[in-house]
Symmetry: C2
DNA sequence: TTCTTAATGTGACATACATCACACCGAAAT
DNA sequence: ATTTCGGTGTGATGTATGTCACATTAAGAA
């Protein structure tokens, strides 16, 4: 017996987007309501400030040097936020999966050019929020500012933990931490990328895991 | 011709605290007004949620294992936020000087035990804000939530930059970056601490600077 | 299928950095 | 003045990790 969702494959692209977009909206709402509760009207208002977008593998949402127009909420799929240094080596700040907010926030808030790039590892669905729309959103519904304050706190704390981990632990320990923290990612992304995230060469990572 | 401030030395401790505390309040207000403007009444309201405190060298504001009751705004002096690992090695997350907000935010927001410690390197003046008072403050004056949202964004961005710097650069480059970013700290704090901040041994740091 | 390219493992060697040991100096304590 | 001790520099040596090279396999493209 087949799941009815399988049949969506046969529908037109627009139809697919419409249907899946409803499921996506439910996810966004659920995500927000973990922190602030919303009436239906309020959620409709919130939603009107976002646009939804599908991203294909290898597509860039942000490229270094561009202006950064959006902050992204990832509903599904997988992206990576990274920086490429002068020697063309890529360093990964973090992966972004379901339920993550991601952008080059430095460039986003200061309306300057990106120093990071954000691209897609697995076909993804994201909600996009521009800085101007976020301001309108806060003006019309102040509790959303509270929501983002909490989110920002978590982000800050997570980033600080990462600093600490880079300061205190060896490559091997970081690798083990990573396994614990993101077991699924070991399968989903290639080892070179994980090495770039951990701050070691891919050869070293290979030796660590064997 | 002497500055009138010199004479404060002869006043009683209480009197000194009172007078300096007025100057401190002005600093706090100026700091906040860089982001949101306040009427006199509003500032009085804000201030009523803070307590002011002097901290002496070697005094701890947070010790690992304790509950974290406050977030601190540093008016003057110098503190360090650090973590001591299993091998008794200290790692410095950051120094905190004039105009910085600092705490073990993970423990503060989740009301759990501190994994970081915050102690004083140079006699300091700090404003203390408890989590409960911050909530009251936001309830009474929502624009303060906006203020802290901006602050949190900056903190997050700065922390991300630090991650990037640890991922991309060598000890020598980090040392040079540090010189650029905090020239005054090279004089103010001993080299071992700077080494702990940069994530290298004090011997290596010594060799880098010669 | 066959060809081409990407991902991964592994050896040999180079190097940045840690660790241990000790010397020197200047500031505080006695 | 003498002693003690924290801060700093520096040599000798060890080690984790990077780099380069090449082989193997898996995955896409034609």
């Amino acid at each position: 017996m087949k799941n009815w969702l399988d049949y969506i494959v046969f529908l037109s692209w627009d139809m697919k987007t419409l249907i899946s977009s409803n499921a996506m909206q439910a996810k966004l709402r659920e995500h927000i309501e973990k922190i602030v509760s919303l009436t239906d009207d309020e959620f409709t208002f919130v939603l009107s400030h976002f646009s939804f977008r599908k991203v294909k593998k290898h597509q860039f949402l942000i490229q270094e040097g561009d202006l950064v127009n959006y902050s992204y909420y990832v509903v599904s799929g997988l992206l990576k936020l990274s920086h490429t240094d002068a020697n063309d080596k890529e360093h990964i700040l973090h992966f972004a999966m379901e339920d993550w907010w991601v952008s080059d926030y430095k460039a986003y808030f200061s309306r300057t050019k990106a120093t990071l790039s954000l691209d897609c590892l697995e076909e993804a669905g994201v909600f996009c929020l521009s800085l101007a729309d976020s301001e309108k959103l806060f003006a019309g519904l102040p509790k959303m500012e509270h929501f983002f304050l909490k989110k920002s706190h978590f982000g800050y704390i997570a980033s600080q933990q990462r600093v600490l981990s880079l300061l205190t632990t060896s490559a091997k320990e970081r690798y083990e931490q990573f396994l614990m923290q993101y077991p699924s990612l070991m399968q989903r992304v290639n080892k070179s990328l994980i090495a770039s995230y951990l701050g070691v060469s891919r050869e070293t990572l290979s030796r660590l895991s064997s």
